[in-house]
Amino acid sequence: MSDAVVSLECPKELERVPLVTSARKFPWITQAVSEIVENRTPVWWWVLFLPLSALALFGLTCIGYQISNGVGVWGENHPNGWAWDITNFVFWIGIGHAGTLISAILFLTRQKWRTSINRASEAMTLFAVMCAAIFPGIHVGRVWMAWFLAPIPNANAIWPNFRSPLLWDVFAVSTYFTVSVLFWYTGLVPDLATLRDRAKSRVVKYIYGIFALGWRGSNRHWRHYEMAYLILAGLSTPLVLSVHSIVSFDFATSIVPGWHTTIFPPYFVAGAIFGGFAMVLTILLPARIVYPKLDDLITRQHVDKMAKIILLTGSIVGYAYLMELFIAWYSANVYERAAFWNRAFGWYGWAYWCMMTCNVVIPQFFWIKKLRTNYIAVFIICQFVNAGMWFERFVIIVTSLAQDFLPSSWGHYSPSWVEIWTFAGTFGIFLSLFLLFMRFLPMIAMSEIKIVVPEADAHHKPSTAH
């Protein structure tokens, strides 16, 4: 049948680069990751933690001030009933998408490179969702009534509007947070056991021992673990899509021009992954500087792949912007057209062009491989994406509300100092929590990364390991 020889050779230029460089072995990986937690707290950590936690505290103070004085201390007004707060809510929820995408979707699609970055990204997800949850919580004004959102008052025949996406949001975000915590914790168990076994102090051993749930690494443990992990990955995957889809419903179900458009759900999800990955890189790239050993675990290949995801999702976001603009024009609806005209050339046109530049133009630099593997360039581009994604939400929310149907009801919006410092405070919370995470938990999934090194392969020949 055959007259040609089948070739299984792979030319040199196409050979795959190993995920863990310098042919690191199991003990080295354990040591490199565990020592971050075990060594004495470095000075730089305190230098960062103290001001950041002070910032967090000041943010919380602003929240206290707002609660005691009312939402009037914010710059929100009529018609801008939603502005800075919901912008920040959507911004932080978006940041919280990369972690679960990396841990769930990349797990299901067998992307082994996820193992170096999943733990830190998942932690970041949790902290970002915590920051996000603050904003709608305090925006209700009477925070002591916020429990109405979790339809508990049904018992008193006070029914929340189950047709409102705002209510769905409560379910979506709380489910997402719960499953993300479970997922993160399940993955942590084997590594907590490693820290327990290495602990020199009895107290530390005891504490890690409690959280390691009696993990012994037996075959039966691993079988249960793998099963739980797969199920959680399966459960988390639709959640990655649902959370931001429902956030997008908050806007798209309305009839406000610029909000009501059918592409919103996938567009928001793509944008969230886009912004989430930028934040992962924003945090992990500096972490590689302070812990040079991580160089062999979070390699240029990882950064390159994350940059490609940013390029892809950024282009999807660009596609969505194009669809919105095109259909707003094609619909020939005067209000839709006016909304998009005002976005680009109205009061907040500068924000629109910031968004376009940061989200669509600048990420295109990632077409260039040299830039994708240059850490400084990647870091700078990611800062543009972070800013761009914040502007995106600001543009959607504020430009649509400030200049809606009737010019007589138009109104400017500018944030008050309380709003600005509350937002700054959430950065303090987010980064302080991340610093704490780095100090107390293994920031790289040791047990998972060991599975992707050649040593884990039963057919591995040590002499040929590279």
Partner: protein, 399 residues
């Protein structure tokens, strides 16, 4: 990796095994088109135009889907799909032929796309979008869609078959570039062709999700088509290199796009229903009237609720003999989807048995000739890429 794999034999399809099949397909194709043309005198030119557009759009989505998978394989430097890639290429490279099948539609422009004959000043909304909905720009876009995507899919297949001869890495690198560029090209083509040919059936109606919706259906159904082709080849004793692990992944993609279609379809429907703006709801109102309501409901049940639980199990995904039934099902519902998109524009109050019977004619016509051409491509080259640098990894696949 390569130390685990034993080199399989290269396979070429023996044309004698096909027997009279190519002639049957060609005969059916010609007969189908002839009956369609003759039938036009019975059912009228209007019904001919819509029914033909339905059949054309169905094959357009299948082939665009295959073009997407072909580009995606190279753009992501995939390993698992090497052994199935030639069949994806064979389907995708039928794209240029679609242009020939598009030509009859050019004779029906004013029937299908009502804006074509509307004079300026008659419809204010149309006047507003005249720069886009103008004759010359419409034709220019048609040309662009066919030229760009045809160039991509034929270049991909050419490099892939050349690599069978010389095994050069340069082909892989070129195909990667074509794949990366191909994804936006395919995305924009399916979006704007979808706007022009399908959304444009009612030029007042619009939805930003439209392109994504068509893509979701196209990707899932074309992956199902690949499953059917591979399974048929295996039944003939070929492609033993494709094992249950490859089927598992193909099944996962079918599952993923079953969910994705439902997600996109639901979002589009729900947002239009919720906002309840007449100029948007008109699309669904027509499709919820008369017996269209039955088909619209059936679409939701058959496209998502039935295949979803079935595809969850490995028992189905890993077994060709089971997965092929799901694949047939999904292709069948893709047909239903396109039917519900196109025909209600003409038959607003409901469809009749005759509408369905007549719709089969152009389907057999275009399908027969495309299948005949596919067999020509099938027998022309090896059934899987023989010297692809990632072949060893594909043979060794473990999920």
């Amino acid at each position: 990796m390569s130390d685990h794999a034993h080199a399989p034999e290269a396979e070429k399809f023996d044309p004698s095994k096909l027997g009279g099949l190519p002639n049957v397909l060609l005969g059916a194709g010609v007969a189908g088109l002839a009956v369609t043309a003759v039938g036009a005198f019975v059912v009228g030119k209007e019904q001919f135009a819509y029914t033909y557009l339905f059949a054309f759009s169905f094959f357009f989505t299948l082939i665009m889907g295959a073009s997407f998978w072909n580009c995606l394989h190279h753009a992501t430097d995939s390993e698992w799909s090497v052994v199935i890639r030639r069949q994806v290429e064979n389907v995708a490279s039928l794209f240029p032929v679609l242009f020939v099948f598009f030509l009859p539609l050019l004779g029906c422009v004013s029937i299908l796309w009502k804006w074509w004959d509307v004079q300026p000043g008659v419809d204010v909304l149309l006047d507003e979008k005249q720069p886009y909905l103008s004759h010359w720009f419409f034709l220019l876009r048609v040309a662009l869609y066919f030229v760009v995507v045809s160039w991509i899919v034929t270049s991909l297949r050419r490099h892939s078959t050349k690599q069978d001869e010389d095994g050069a890495a340069s082909h892989s690198l070129t195909m990667r570039k074509l794949g990366i560029g191909g994804i936006p090209a395919v995305a924009l083509t399916i979006t704007f062709a979808g706007f022009d040919w399908l959304m444009g059936l009612d030029y007042h109606w619009f939805s930003t999700m439209w392109g994504v919706y068509l893509f979701a259906g196209a990707a899932g159904s074309s992956m199902s088509l690949i499953v059917l082709i591979i399974t048929a080849l295996k039944a003939k004793g070929y492609l033993k290199v494709v094992n249950s692990e490859h089927y598992h992944i193909m099944g996962k993609f079918m599952l993923a796009f079953t969910i994705f279609w439902a997600y996109i379809g639901y979002s589009q429907y729900m947002l239009i229903w919720y906002a309840n703006i007449p100029e948007e709801t008109v699309y669904f109102i027509i499709r919820n009237q008369g017996n269209w309501n039955f088909l619209s409901t059936a679409l939701v049940v058959c496209r998502f609720f039935l295949p979803f639980p079935v595809l969850l199990t490995q028992w189905v995904k890993k077994a060709p003999e089971r997965l092929r039934y799901v694949a047939m099902w999904i292709i069948g519902v893709q047909l239903l989807d396109i039917f519900v998109i196109v025909i209600p524009t003409l038959k607003k109050t409901g469809f009749s048995f005759l509408d369905v019977a007549y719709a089969i004619c152009p389907l057999v016509g275009i399908g027969g000739i495309l299948a005949w051409l596919f067999l020509k491509k099938l027998t022309a080259n090896y059934l899987f890429p023989t010297k692809d640098p990632r072949l060893a990894g594909s043979l060794n696949l473990h999920n």
